[in-house]
Symmetry: C2
Subunit: 372 residues, 2 copies
């Protein structure tokens, strides 16, 4: 089995850690964790969907390696990323009398990873944390880099800590039980890494995306490429004071659309918002004469091929008008002291941070592309 | 005014910061903050007791320096260090639309400092934070070193983050409005630094404690000595993986007594528990032939002189029996995997971390010293 696994290192000095990617990792999580964190006990945090498929295998693997564990179960879905659930996880960890050297294990998608990581970051001012991402989005994005957090009435992910995991185990086989729509949404983040600064990877995806969806070595390869792309940015800018903002390609428009649809997953899930956001970021860059319209068309074509939405018109139901969409953008946390910051691009794999983008330009662009 | 202020630096590389100590600092907080954090807005977190005396002066000083501020008010007392209050502070900061570069200012004792610091550490994954401690305990202990947190049903300070302030302003004049009992309790922590590893400072306190209580240069001097002692330990061990545990001198017994009295401040406040705990730690060390009984008597004499309790018998009301007190000690977070860890001493200013102290020795000692 181990022959199939690929390792990507996140280089953060004394806080460096490995990401293991491959099939069957849930079944041998016990050995991998016990080797790195000998003698610990653990609390597994998961949601009902994921637990139904994978919790049994994980608990057994842990106990085979002598790791006693307790599990803390939460309802699935973005709504779980709130203060009450945080308190519930913290309480579960403390009730199990875990100490600082013990581990919190997140088994689930980005919601569980963000929430469990936050809890691990604050119980006893920081416990060991292991990410076991089970959604594609979590495997390529949220489980890497140490950002954790919850949502509040004031916005998403506004409260949290930077708390790096000690180990990430991305079982690519776990993705077989992931709903197809969730897989596709996560794929938007995979494509994102190509669009940010890896044009060869984007070209490879244009050829091999079907195998990535089907599973097997191409899937592992795509996830490993994505993790290494993210790890590189994170190592350069752990606390997001500069470059890390590049990872927000597609997210300024995307977040605005998520907010505009009331975070209703039936209409738009995060990765779909990112897909539309990336297409818009390329088209907007072309409109500002920064990139070519051909590049924008190429991005749109690939999103179409994999079945992702790329236009605002692809979102079912009515959208607020352009003015109101701009309002959502201005509320986004990437707005610093009134200036609009966007990730724009000079073409596929050539994105950059643009500060002081005039709101008027954004508004006209939104008007032109508004379906209503 | 500035002639009276003493500066102590906490050396933590890029996160180093100054502690300014002296009278009148609330009145010139605006300049001191604006000089270091130009262009910011602020949220002041305080409690009703402190606000009644000092909030007006702080707000005016900030606004004179062009710092727009909002204030978030909480009930006074240890009970405020909970999840609900944390959420309230977080919410207040977000409602004021503060960004990462803006500041949370804690104006109050250790309760407000711990709570506001925790909130500052998690809003937007870490905002600027300024400590303005107004109790003696907060000026010499809780405001220095970056530990923040709240209490839960499972114990005190079990949840929080390390989040260093950008600046500490300890207005020694603010202590004039502090109830005498609170001042005395905070003084236990001052004496603690002498007992840990500064025998000359302890001797100086034996001579000058009355002036420290009265105010003036000796007070500033004692606070500065205390801050520099704490800063030294913190610089050596920011995340409490080793030496920082020395700061717990007197706290293992002290915490057990606080728990045993149900955290009822009418019976015992934290510093009083620490005073009794320090006396017990010295007497226990003498009993184990590690220190002399003369040293223990010297500590007891000084605590008596300043009016602090030093025996279990000094606590009004009945105490649980020795077995149950040991139970509280074993629950304390300084117990690692069943072994009892204590800060013991070879004499005044010669404390050390003792791991694997046999529970049976502790039990006989508690029995001998139990008033019941
Ligand atoms: N921390 C970061 O750096 C970061 C980065 C990007 C996104 N995020 C966060 O990640 C979250 C989105 O992550 P997500 O898309 O994984 O959401 P999610 O955790 O809600 O998972 C999506 C759905 O798939 C289910 N699921 C997950 N794995 C499964 C499996 N193997 N089999 C069956 N069902 C499975 C979940 O129960 C859920 O219903 C958002 O909250 C976002 O803010 C965080
Ligand atoms: N973070 C750390 O490293 C650390 C270290 C030691 C203690 N602590 C924490 O500190 C807390 C105890 O601190 P504390 O003793 O300051 O408690 P506190 O904040 O409750 O203050 C004590 C009382 O004095 C009042 N007060 C404070 N300043 C005043 C002033 N200038 N005038 C009038 N009244 C004033 C307060 O309203 C309160 O009623 C505990 O929660 C403890 O866990 C933290
Ligand atoms: Zn994303
Ligand atoms: Zn103390």
């Amino acid at each position: 089995m181990s022959a199939d696994a690929v390792t990507v290192e996140v280089g953060l000095g004394t806080r460096s850690y490995d990401i293991l990617i491959g099939p069957g990792l849930i079944g041998r999580a016990g050995e991998e964790i016990a080797r790195r964190l000998p003698g610990i006990r653990a609390a597994i945090v998961s949601d009902e969907n994921v637990a139904a498929h994978h919790l049994g295998a994980l608990s057994e693997s842990l106990s085979r390696s002598g790791i006693e564990s307790t599990s803390i179960m939460l309802p699935a879905g973005e709504k779980t990323k709130n203060f009450d659930a945080l308190q519930q996880v913290v309480d579960g960890i403390l009730a199990a009398r875990l100490e600082r050297g013990d581990a919190v294990i997140a088994l689930g998608g980005g919601v569980i990873g963000d929430l469990a990581g936050f809890a691990a970051g604050i119980v006893r001012r920081g416990m060991n944390f292991v990410q076991m991402p089970t959604s594609l989005l979590a495997q390529v994005d949220s489980s890497v880099g140490g950002k954790t957090g919850i949502n509040t009435a004031h916005g998403k992910n506004l409260v949290g800590v930077f708390h790096q995991p000690r180990l990430v185990l991305a079982d690519t086989g776990a993705l077989d039980t992931l709903p197809a729509r969730e897989f596709r949404a996560g794929y938007a983040e995979v494509a994102k890494y190509g669009l940010i600064d890896r044009p060869d990877f984007f070209a490879w995806l244009e050829k091999n995306w079907q195998e990535v969806f089907d599973g097997g070595p191409a899937r592992t390869e795509a996830i490993a490429q994505s993790c290494s792309a993210k790890a590189e940015v994170v190592a350069r800018d752990e606390f997001e004071t500069g470059d890390r903002a590049l990872l927000n390609l597609g997210h300024t428009f995307g977040h605005a659309l998520e907010a505009a649809t009331g975070y209703d997953g039936a209409r738009l899930v995060h990765g779909e918002g990112v897909a539309i956001g990336m297409a818009l970021a390329h088209r907007f860059s072309a409109r500002l004469n920064l990139a070519s319209h051909d590049d924008a068309a190429r991005v749109e074509a690939h999103l179409t091929a994999v079945g992702l939405p790329w236009r605002m018109a692809d979102i079912p139901g009515p959208l607020p008008d352009a003015e109101r969409l701009l309002g959502y953008i201005a509320q986004d946390k990437k707005v610093s002291r009134g200036a609009l910051t966007f990730i724009l691009t000079h073409g596929v794999g050539q994105s950059f941070i643009a500060r002081d983008v005039p709101a008027s330009e954004v508004l006209s662009f939104l008007r032109e592309n508004h379906p209503g």
